[in-house]
Symmetry: C3
Subunit: 471 residues, 3 copies
């Protein structure tokens, strides 16, 4: 039994007729604006090499922790979904069998954004016209396998078709940005830039921290065994990243703690952490100090600073042991911004030349902390609804909780933040639709004129992100 | 002036017409499904003895802390509502006067679920057709008094009329389950089972902990003065409860803390707590360790484990002194699941044969902690909106906050969790209506097809609870 | 291009037709009820002297931290908005230039309550019929300047026109209430009362605490260097405030901590804090003890106690240094009521003669802590949505989170809590509209009859505030 797959043109708009009408009109005006993607995790190799993507399982399932975490929660082994083991042990290699297993569990995604993204990628991006079910799984696998080999399904062709104006990837300071160089030197005019993500060299808890800092020294010719050389090396890599197009740095810390120690204390602390003698509190303090150092460097080199705190990484010890990082086991925690950011804000909070974008995985902070902070401090903006909240309800809660205190103009548009390249149009479309739905609610409850709502819709889709990320 | 009492057939459905239409259609298909009640606090004696309930005050008011706490908050003495004092001192004994007092304050329940449940019990269960007001109080008291003496208002008749497929009560390991034996040996075929609630013997802060542990030893013939005998006794009672129909255990701890100590440390800690030498931190650690021990036993005996954390019991010292436990003075507190559960999850989080259902009184944990955890760990599911959140708004927030990350299939249907037997149909009906309202919203905003929504409605009402609780 | 300014008569009502109809009917019945304003920060000098307000910038912008914090967050210097510096250094003094700057940034307030209040003050209060834009700024400045000089735009005339039945201001115990005496002795019959706000003499962290306590001694003739004299002085000032019309005290503490120390410990702690030898923990403990002392005094003198916890004052160190208090840099923090209030509740929680109204800046406490506490303890009520949450979405969240557990009758109506006199009608109107919108939702989802909703609307607007504040 074939079930047709067709996305409804009014999806995510309010059901009530007057609001739906306004939402439609607003959306019609902004739906075709270019995609600006200032923060994400696509692989620059795709755009450098422009090879066809792999089979449907390799493209959609094996790398997507949103998808396989849900199946894992219902008792499906990651091995059976083809997720590679750290020890190289056997896992399923037959894409078709992985795909069938996924289809058997596809009902688990009812009511989730993954369902919206996946259906959008299948239908709008790849032209599939029937729903994924256990019955249709094989047919779809065949059609997708064929479709993915066609030249217009290659990375650069899709990038162009998606109408992406600029796409940022994220790299470690130790990355040589070779793929970005290839892209830049190619005759393709797609704008793919990098972002500076120093976690491996600023977080003493990161795997291989000590070695990473050594490598940083080799790359830069600085003596990274000492605090001054270490900072100089960071500055040098930031300059290199800037030159390669980066306009932002990104910081994925477990908390929002910042510190403002004197140079002597910094030296001692750095030495201790590097020697492996640091306590957990020392490591936290070092990360905290490094946020302030990075803010100081941003004041000089103009990189926009993004802080992504509050994820307890690798919560599942057994799974981490077997499969490594980024396997759907990062869990949000309560995050305190008010005390945490104070040292950095006391030092730099009133600097007009600095821009810090705050994200959260703790929605309670929207109205209690982030909106009041961003509605006051010149350096602060609030990043879009993130990770588990990049979803219709998550985005609505975000707008409802933030707007009344921080307004729209202390936010920065949308981030897709994804490794799943084919989901990028879907994610931006969801954000645009939800913003229009929210604005329609304001219009129909007479809190905002429709003329102004249209201007805001345009700002949220396009203008704010360009301005906030200096793109 | 008589005010008619008639529940509207569209109650709790969205006001907007298209959503209301979908909600009606979904509800029509699931409203008559049997009630499965896997967690509650009804008295098994009712079903063992099948005696008529007492007068309206004894049935509805005196035992219901949802009701008398509200009147108490507005200055009504519990004595005047007939709530028994610990010291046996005088309280109101005239049911009619209690009922009148309640009627005078019935407006306090406007906008609360208690109002919905109470009106449903009066009208749908007992056939009352006018609203409770100070003016109607006496008439209703007479009619109800008469009605409650009729044979079809006895516990077993109501159980059958309510279409209850199975009802779980909750007992201490020290309970002999005599009532359950009577029910089992009777010719009545109603399925009333027990659930294993070990708080009195695992929580050193529980009244009479030491004596309870001794009694556990006598009941089982184990030496419960030592750690090994204590654990063996627990295992023995779990086996007895299982034999009497239990499929689950239940754990009402102040926090979600778990621990995974080595056996030597367990022995020492147990001895200290039993001797009355434990600090508050020792008591917390002992409870934490016992959750992990109970998980270990569940792996062996298959009982589904329910964790109900986050209630600070008996917050009102004076009231506790005068009236004892369960008098409406238990207050929710912030609850941390991410760090709290880690020791248990590190030990057993990936076991497919184990099932742990998490509840919360801290709604901030839905999207930040519970959905991300349950959407990843195979052993975890999220229990329904609990206690103060067993309400229309509470349930909507629950679905909106959980579904996008954990989906529907990491939830387990509804629990009525009540001592108020006559409110059971009302509570399940509210849950069914709110779920249909939520699903209608997904359908009308084109996030889910109506065919799939119908399947989900059926799952949420019936299939998931049977599966999650092994019923 | 002139843009007309006209508030829609259905603003803030639900868009869906049946709910809008109910909301309209409810609102029509309560919209003209008198304003009762039991908590606010208007200047009693206005009503004592009845002089015209200053120019539009002086009236609307310079004193309003809601407005200038938003512009500051977007890079506008407070100096350029005319906010006075502590050192008396130069700031903009030209009202017209300040007004223009504000108009250029007025789009920042889209979606915020400030926008609703400001437009209401302009149009409904002052008769302006075009929107504020950069283009209209000068015209509006001229019209407003003229309008504000007219006799019917003076404080007393507006007070009468606003239909204010009673308005409370807030004063320190050190205030001589001279303006209140002038008002009382005048032939004007407007009821302007004071409220007792002892923060300057009970908070050891308050600027000039020691000197304030000394001054308290001089004012009262008590020896405030000792604990007993200090308490006696407080009692004396409370009596004076009561005599001058106060019915409430107000306490703006950083947390909700209370304490119940024995008198010896109080003496020692007070001496330490007064001598300047107190640690931050001592200061917190002293404030905590003073809440309990104030509750004890309330039992005697009948003042209703308001607790406004959870604001971290003067978060921006540089800004505080330059401009002082109340400059938009107070940031909410997580607040614990359950443990915090326990000492006070253990002592006085069951006293029928005591009334404590709790406010919060931490919305997570509504359903988790405040509703369960206020739905049980006789002394507790929940104050209205406060500060950043005095907004349409904030009020809706407040009702949705509180009502199901605490009902309507453990709340106390609306507080405008404002220094912006001209915004008072707008703020009360927003509250009335949002309450009617919420009630319409209950009616149309058949949770409450429209007859009862009307009674509740009246209660929320008028009766509850009079009763709760003894007005």
């Amino acid at each position: 039994m074939t079930k047709p797959l067709q996305l409804h043109e009014d999806r995510l708009f309010p059901a009530e007729a007057s609001q739906r009408g306004v939402a439609r009109r607003l959306y019609a005006e902004i739906k075709d604006l270019p995609i600006v993607s200032p923060h994400g995790h696509t692989d620059p190799a795709w755009f450098a090499e422009d090879q066809p993507f792999g089979n449907p399982a390799e493209l959609f399932i094996i790398p997507d922790h949103y998808l396989f975490r849900m199946l894992y929660s219902q008792g499906v082994d990651l091995e059976d979904l083809g997720v590679p083991r750290r020890d190289g042990g056997p896992v399923e290699r037959d894409g078709r069998r992985i795909w069938r297993r996924f289809a058997e569990h596809y009902h688990l995604f009812r009511g989730t954004p993954s369902r919206l993204w996946f259906d959008h990628a299948l239908s709008v991006v790849l032209g599939i016209d029937e729903q994924l079910t256990p019955e249709s799984a094989d047919r779809l696998y065949d059609r997708l396998s064929e479709r993915l080999q066609q030249s217009d399904a290659r990375p650069r062709a899709l990038f162009d078709r998606f109408n992406i104006e600029v796409l940022a990837t994220t790299e470690s300071p130790l990355d040589d940005l070779a793929h970005h160089k290839v892209i830049r030197d190619s005759n393709w005019d797609g704008r793919v830039i990098t972002a500076f993500r120093p976690d491996p060299v600023v977080d003493p808890d990161f795997e291989g921290f000590r070695g990473n800092v050594e490598e940083l020294g080799k790359l830069t010719g600085e003596d990274t065994a000492g605090w001054d050389g270490y900072l100089a090396a960071q500055r040098q890599r930031r300059a290199f990243f800037s030159e390669m197009g980066a306009t932002s740095s990104d910081h994925g810390h477990p908390s929002a703690a910042t510190a403002d120690l004197d140079p002597g204390a910094c030296r001692t602390l750095f030495a201790k952490c590097l020697a492996g003698d640091g306590s957990p509190e020392d490591h936290e303090l070092f990360r905290a100090q490094m946020l302030t150092e990075m803010a100081r460097m941003s004041l000089d080199d103009g990189l926009v600073m993004q802080i992504h705190p509050g994820s307890l990484r690798n919560h599942n010890a057994g799974l981490f042991e077997r499969f490594g990082r980024d396997k759907g086991a990062d869990i949000p925690t309560r995050t305190d911004y008010v005390a945490g950011l104070k040292p950095l804000l006391d030092r730099f909070g009133n600097e007009k030349a600095l821009s810090v974008i705050l994200f959260t995985l703790d929605e309670t902070s929207y109205s209690r902390e982030l909106a009041p902070l961003a509605g006051h401090y010149p350096i602060l903006k609030v990043g879009p609804a993130w990770w588990f909240y990049d979803s219709p309800e998550g985005m609505l809660r975000y707008r409802r909780a933030l707007t009344e205190t921080a307004g729209f103009y202390n936010t920065v548009g949308f981030n897709d933040d994804t490794r799943a390249f084919l989901s990028i149009p879907a994610r931006h479309d969801v954000a645009r639709r939800v913003d229009c739905a929210y604005l329609a609610e304001l219009v129909c409850t007479h809190r905002l004129g429709e003329d102004e709502a249209l201007e805001v819709a345009h700002d949220l889709t396009y203008r704010l992100v360009k301005q906030a990320y200096k793109l």
